[in-house]
Symmetry: none
Subunit: 434 residues, 2 copies
């Protein structure tokens, strides 16, 4: 419905996402830490406090009550895409995470380096969690030795005509992730992600042969099996050819084969000209999925703010992502998460200066999901949400915290409604019916 109502106007929307900002209260062990307060409650945030008093607040569930979202669904929801309807395959997310850009025809998979015994049975699904450096070396070797696979498959003698599935080459890309993880991308035409995984997800079994789930995926399954066999012989060459002794990473396990999801872009759905400012590849990738221009930026919060200022005139929707709130949450580092929130607070006046350049501009601050330091992980707790616009009734919130937002005037809503609310307050939606 929003798509039929959206209007192209000049007013701007700034969506500031503090990744994982929601937390849980921590009882004081040190006198310097608040008694039973969350990270947001503990932080000294004079600018956010002042803003909250002029804003309307609420809480959002990224997916549904009780559901802990990954970064993919949490962001899709904030971008206005129902994350249950639009699921991003694991392989695609991993590819975005290492900064590989995908074309609609490509297939990405998440890979693990693993250890198999002499019989080919899996001893360790993570190859003893080899270091990222070793991983990088192995990936480089695989990439050099397998940069394309003939779609006709090894079963065809050279020169013979290929059958129904064509014989064109498929390009292979192997990109290292952290520790034992890597990303595998096949680029070519006629690829189909409806194939089985090769990771049996337990030790004592051999890796599985990849099988097509539909006839159209036969070529892809064949390519996967060729890749696995080639990778195996490279990682664990015959004794006579051995270059580097027995290695723990002597096998690959593949799962989460996926293509890019088919999404109508924000430009088309919401008539926005959207841009993303984010430092981590995953978030840059997610933003590009929905059509945002991903702007070049540096690694600090200050760099990101400078980028925002630089491009402010050129777009009318900005997604500004700050990662460190989540990183410190994941580390269980309550104090540093508090410090990052305090650092962000210092930039609020600069952001407001931009927002105030036009009366119908809208400024939203929220998280994608919560990452309480006490849980050291993403959680299901709803996200504090703040909306600042000329066209609101300010509620009673005195600060931008979980507890103040609980009583907020926007109530408790699904994050997928955040975009309609932002568009409405920026006067970018026509009336529904007469």
């Amino acid at each position: 419905m929003i798509e039929e109502l959206a209007l192209k106007t000049d007013s701007k929307i700034l969506l500031l996402v503090l990744d994982g900002v929601g937390g849980l209260p921590k009882k004081a062990r040190l006198p310097s830490v608040g008694q039973g307060y969350t990270e947001l409650e503990t932080a000294k945030t004079p600018n956010l406090d002042k803003l909250a008093q002029k804003s309307i607040t609420g809480l959002t569930d990224a997916v549904a009550p009780g559901i802990t979202p990954g970064s993919g669904p949490a962001h899709l929801s904030l971008f206005g895409y129902n994350p249950i309807k639009y699921q991003i395959g694991r392989g695609v997310l991993e590819a975005l995470g290492v900064g590989v850009s995908l074309n609609p025809e490509d297939i990405a998979a998440r890979g693990n380096f693993a250890t198999v015994d002499a019989e080919g049975l899996i001893i360790d699904r993570r190859a003893g969690r080899i270091s990222t450096e070793v991983n990088q070396k192995i990936c480089k070797r695989l990439q050099t030795e397998i940069n394309k696979i003939c779609a006709g498959g090894t079963s065809l003698p050279d020169g013979q005509q290929a059958g129904a599935f064509g014989r064109e080459n498929v390009k292979v890309e192997v990109m290292p992730g952290k520790e034992h993880r890597f990303v595998l991308v096949f680029r070519g035409s006629g690829l189909d992600e409806r194939i089985t995984e090769t990771d049996p997800q337990k030790t004592g079994n051999p890796p599985l042969i990849c099988k097509p789930l539909v006839p159209e995926a036969e070529k892809t399954a064949r390519i996967v099996n060729i890749f696995v066999n080639k990778a195996k012989s490279i990682l664990s060459p015959p004794r006579s050819d051995k270059r580097s002794g027995t290695e723990p990473a002597n096998m690959v396990l593949l799962r989460g084969f996926a293509k890019l999801p088919k999404l109508k872009l924000m430009q088309e759905r919401f008539k926005l000209t959207p841009a993303a400012i984010a430092t981590y590849p995953m978030y840059r990738g997610l933003a590009s999925l929905v059509g945002m221009d991903v702007l070049e930026t540096g690694y600090t919060i200050e760099d990101e703010i400078l980028t925002l200022k630089k491009y402010w005139k050129q777009y009318n929707f900005f997604y500004l992502h700050i990662k460190k709130t989540d990183s410190f949450g994941e580390d269980g580092n309550f104090e540093n998460k508090v410090k990052i929130i305090e650092e962000i607070d210092k930039y609020v006046p600069i952001l407001l200066e931009l927002v105030h350049q036009s009366t119908d501009n809208v400024f939203v601050i929220t998280g994608d999901h919560s990452t309480p330091s006490l849980l050291k992980a993403h959680s299901w707790h709803p996200n504090p949400f703040l909306l600042y616009s000329k066209w609101i009734i300010p509620d009673s919130a005195k600060r931008f915290t979980e507890r103040e937002c609980m009583r907020g005037g926007l109530g408790h809503f699904n994050a997928v409604d955040a975009i309609p609310l932002m568009l409405a307050h920026a006067l970018k939606l026509k009336k529904f019916g007469a």
Copy 2:
């Protein structure tokens, strides 16, 4: 589900709709106006305040968060009909708005008088916004000269048998609206609204020929084209026959062809005997769409209250509509909107006297949509909602205002759930399951 649970009982429900009552806070320019308060917050409403303290409150979205509804969808939702599922065509709404009653077979369209040049190209889609008086004269002329159209069409010589679509006459009604707007109704059988519009929605083009979108609509499209041609020759007669010189309104443009939506009536769905008290045709029409008896009433709020008293014993559901809150909102007249709210407040004790006649009666006060004086238009802001019944837990609301309702015990909900809540509190719903 409600339909299977609804019980016929004597308890009464009074739904008082203050059209567009929700507002936005206005900064004081005159000392008499509140500092940063909405119309409801500014108004002195001792009776509503006292009622709010014994009630449970909340906020409703007529359609969805961020969506600004027209009066049609906003009312359907309050009457318990999902406004996305049941969309009322533009022509039908216009017909209701001028007080034309429609039968299920009829087709209504919204018309514009327009100006075309010698080549028949549109110069002005609104004929220079002719006055309502001129409009009334033109409509009278059209109505006199075209009161029926032969369904067989002009292409058939007189006396010849018509084909598959029959040859019966279709009655034509032309009703003036405001300025350049009119309503066109075709009454007959076998009419089908699946036809294209004749309004190209831009100048410099000729009006479009009406085309059927499905074979069943061929007859209707033919009738529309006959009407347009006849109207054109009447409005802009050949020079030799010219009665009144060059007129700006020398063409008609038609759009929004629609039949009545197919709705199960409130009687059947909710086992109610419903009545409507409203002064404006649009709301009387909307109420009749869902099966309400539309009561004769005068034009003041007092008249409406007297009508309610008169019919109180005869029905068990009353929709009492007050228009002026919306009218002053649309005019941007904050002060008069406040005064109307204060006037309504005076009648609250009389309404409560009626409600108190039986212990299980329910009284709801809400808006259909918000119309902040500051926006001079309908808006997306949720509606304050108050429910008074013996069977509630009063919340902390001290007044019937947007901000008090934000923290209300009913929370933030979709207006389509208002009817189930009213039925439940009136003990009109059976248990679901065992």
